[in-house]
């Protein structure tokens, strides 16, 4: 049944992605592809992997953006201007349009934890769910002819054969900068919910009315280089000198 679940509990599993921390290393892209090509459903195929026109199915991709405030083009005075590395995968929306447009019932949202999944044995590969997703979270696998998407590593997070610390999505486990966090965003006391509350975590494209579960933490404010300059250049400042160096500073001043 591809209507959204009516009996949704309070649990909403999802990711919190810290844009202040992500260094754009693409390690999560690689670990996601590696785990999911051998896990849930059919493999994530590549087309012409050694040819001229390389392409393939990925469930997680990293974009990099240049963000420039008004008048921020001046070097040294740019302030907030920066490069932001931006990981993007399925947001497991509460009002997921990809679920309701599916004609076969292959696309569904789980009542128990809110994860949006595709039953590949029912998918006819019409591609309408990918069209309905404003975030580009779904990619058709050209070899299998079925829609692939982030499963939130549903085959890891409940897997008791794995060590406790491995029961998180592959991208979260692998992130060397700790920019990705996994948890229950439906529970206001969970670590991820507290993080979102403290840092002002936000939804992507709220105007699309999809109510995403995943949240993004904004880059922390920065001070422009011009504003960071102390009144006296650092090399000229001897205020903090103590002991022998304080004596030396005073003596040299007298000479």
């Amino acid at each position: 049944m591809t209507s959204l679940p009516q009996d949704r509990g309070t649990t909403s599993l999802g990711l919190v992605i810290d844009l202040d921390v992500c260094v754009g290393c693409h390690a999560c892209v690689v670990s996601c592809k590696e785990w999911n090509t051998g896990g849930y459903g059919s493999a994530l195929s590549d087309q012409h992997p050694y040819g001229d026109d390389v392409s393939g199915t990925f469930l997680n991709r990293i974009h990099s953006y240049e963000v420039v405030p008004e008048g921020g083009e001046v070097i040294g005075e740019a302030g907030q201007a920066r490069i932001v590395h931006f990981p993007k995968s399925c947001l497991h929306c509460e009002d997921a349009p990809c679920v309701t447009v599916c004609p076969t019932g292959a696309s569904y949202k789980r009542a128990s934890d809110g994860i949006v999944l595709v039953d590949e044995t029912k998918c006819i590969g019409c591609g309408l769910c990918a069209w309905s997703c404003a975030y580009g979270a779904r990619e058709m696998d050209l070899a299998a002819g079925v829609m692939k998407k982030c499963t939130l590593c549903v085959d890891r997070i409940y897997n008791e054969a794995l060590q406790e610390e491995d029961r998180v999505p592959s991208c979260v486990r692998t992130c060397p900068a700790n920019a990705r966090h996994f948890g229950d965003l439906g529970d206001p006391r969970s670590e991820v919910s507290i993080m979102v509350a403290e840092r002002g975590g936000y939804d992507l494209m709220p105007e699309q009315g999809t109510r995403p579960t995943n949240k993004y933490l904004p880059p922390r404010p920065r001070i422009s280089l011009a504003d960071q300059q102390p009144a006296m250049p650092l090399a000229e400042n001897t205020e903090g000198a103590r002991g022998f160096f304080a004596w030396l500073d005073k003596t040299l001043d007298r000479i």
């Binding site: 844009l19 990925f58 490069i83 932001v84 019932g105 590969g125 105007e207 699309q208």
Partner: protein
């Protein structure tokens, strides 16, 4: 959006077929004429050919029957159910006419209603997608319905040359379809996009957002499927071609047909249908190719 040929052929052919089915269902053609049986068969062939073409864009067409199950939420599923359901009255009536020489008006009305509902469902598949601003408008179903009816009436006119009622209805529908399509395009060109790179990344509070580096060097499924670009100079020319072929030329030919008689009359009407179909094919290509998807805010 990528203009897939299977989708363009499907919507154009089945649109023509359903339009013709409406005219037949409402008794627009004299049932006693042998050519009317031919018109019934042509409507069914056009619809079936369109539906078969639509299967070609599926990754797993062998499971297409599953698409009939989710009519509660999915317009694509509703379209499938309506398309198959409408075959019943249309085929029954064609059969009745072929074997008994008489069609059943009630079946005709049901078939006509089903045909319009099917076209409506098709248009709602596109209209319901909020991430594609150009399609997300009440004008989209209006254009689909009017274009389907117009094609049907023009096609029916070929089977009954010299019928003033059909020619008049054709002229009115051509005018209505052109007006709705002009309004649709005007809205598409002037509409402010719902989402921007700033809202897509949530970084608008800091400043203007510009893509610095793509996630990969070459195209992927998303950029191929949603990132289709058509050069503005070409789209303007194609739109002019669509306007002339789909509306203006058929209207002129219809007017000419009212002044003519005999054999040239039918060839003029056939030419009007051909011109209209080519125009609608171009229109449908532009419908896909010019629509911008919200996901392109990330690329």
């Amino acid at each position: 959006m990528h203009p897939a040929y299977s989708m363009i052929i499907f919507t154009v052919l089945s649109g023509l077929g359903y339009g013709l089915a409406v005219v037949l269902g409402l008794g627009g053609l004299e049932p006693s004429l042998p050519s009317t049986v031919l018109a019934h068969i042509l409507a069914l062939v056009l619809i079936a050919a369109g539906l078969i073409a639509s299967l070609f864009h599926l990754g797993n067409p062998q499971r297409a029957w599953r698409a009939l199950s989710q009519w509660r939420s999915s317009w694509l599923s509703r379209e499938g159910v309506m398309a198959l359901g409408t075959f019943v009255p249309l085929t029954l009536n064609a059969g009745l006419l072929l074997f008994t020489g008489q069609s059943e008006p009630i079946l005709g009305y049901i078939g006509a209603a089903g045909a319009m509902l099917t076209v409506f469902c098709t248009s709602m598949i596109y209209t319901s997608l909020k991430g594609i601003d150009a399609w997300h408008s009440a004008l989209t179903p209006a254009c689909f319905l009017l274009l389907s009816l117009t094609g049907g009436v023009l096609l029916a006119a070929c089977f009954a040359p010299g019928t003033r009622l059909l020619a008049g209805a054709g002229l009115l529908l051509l005018l209505g379809a052109m007006a709705s399509k002009l309004a649709w395009r005007r809205r598409m060109l002037r509409n402010q996009p719902l989402s921007t790179p700033e809202s897509a990344t949530g970084l608008g509070g800091i400043g203007r957002v510009r893509l610095f580096e793509r996630p990969h060097t070459l195209d992927n499924y998303l950029t191929r499927e949603m990132g289709y670009r058509v050069a503005r100079k070409h789209s303007a020319k194609l739109w002019a071609i669509a306007l002339v072929c789909a509306f203006l030329l058929p209207a002129a030919l219809l007017l000419l047909s009212l002044a003519l008689g005999g054999l040239p009359l039918r060839s003029v009407l056939v030419f009007a249908v051909l011109s209209h179909s080519v125009g609608v094919l171009v229109e449908r290509w532009l419908f896909f190719a010019e629509a911008r998807h919200a996901v392109m805010n990330y690329y």
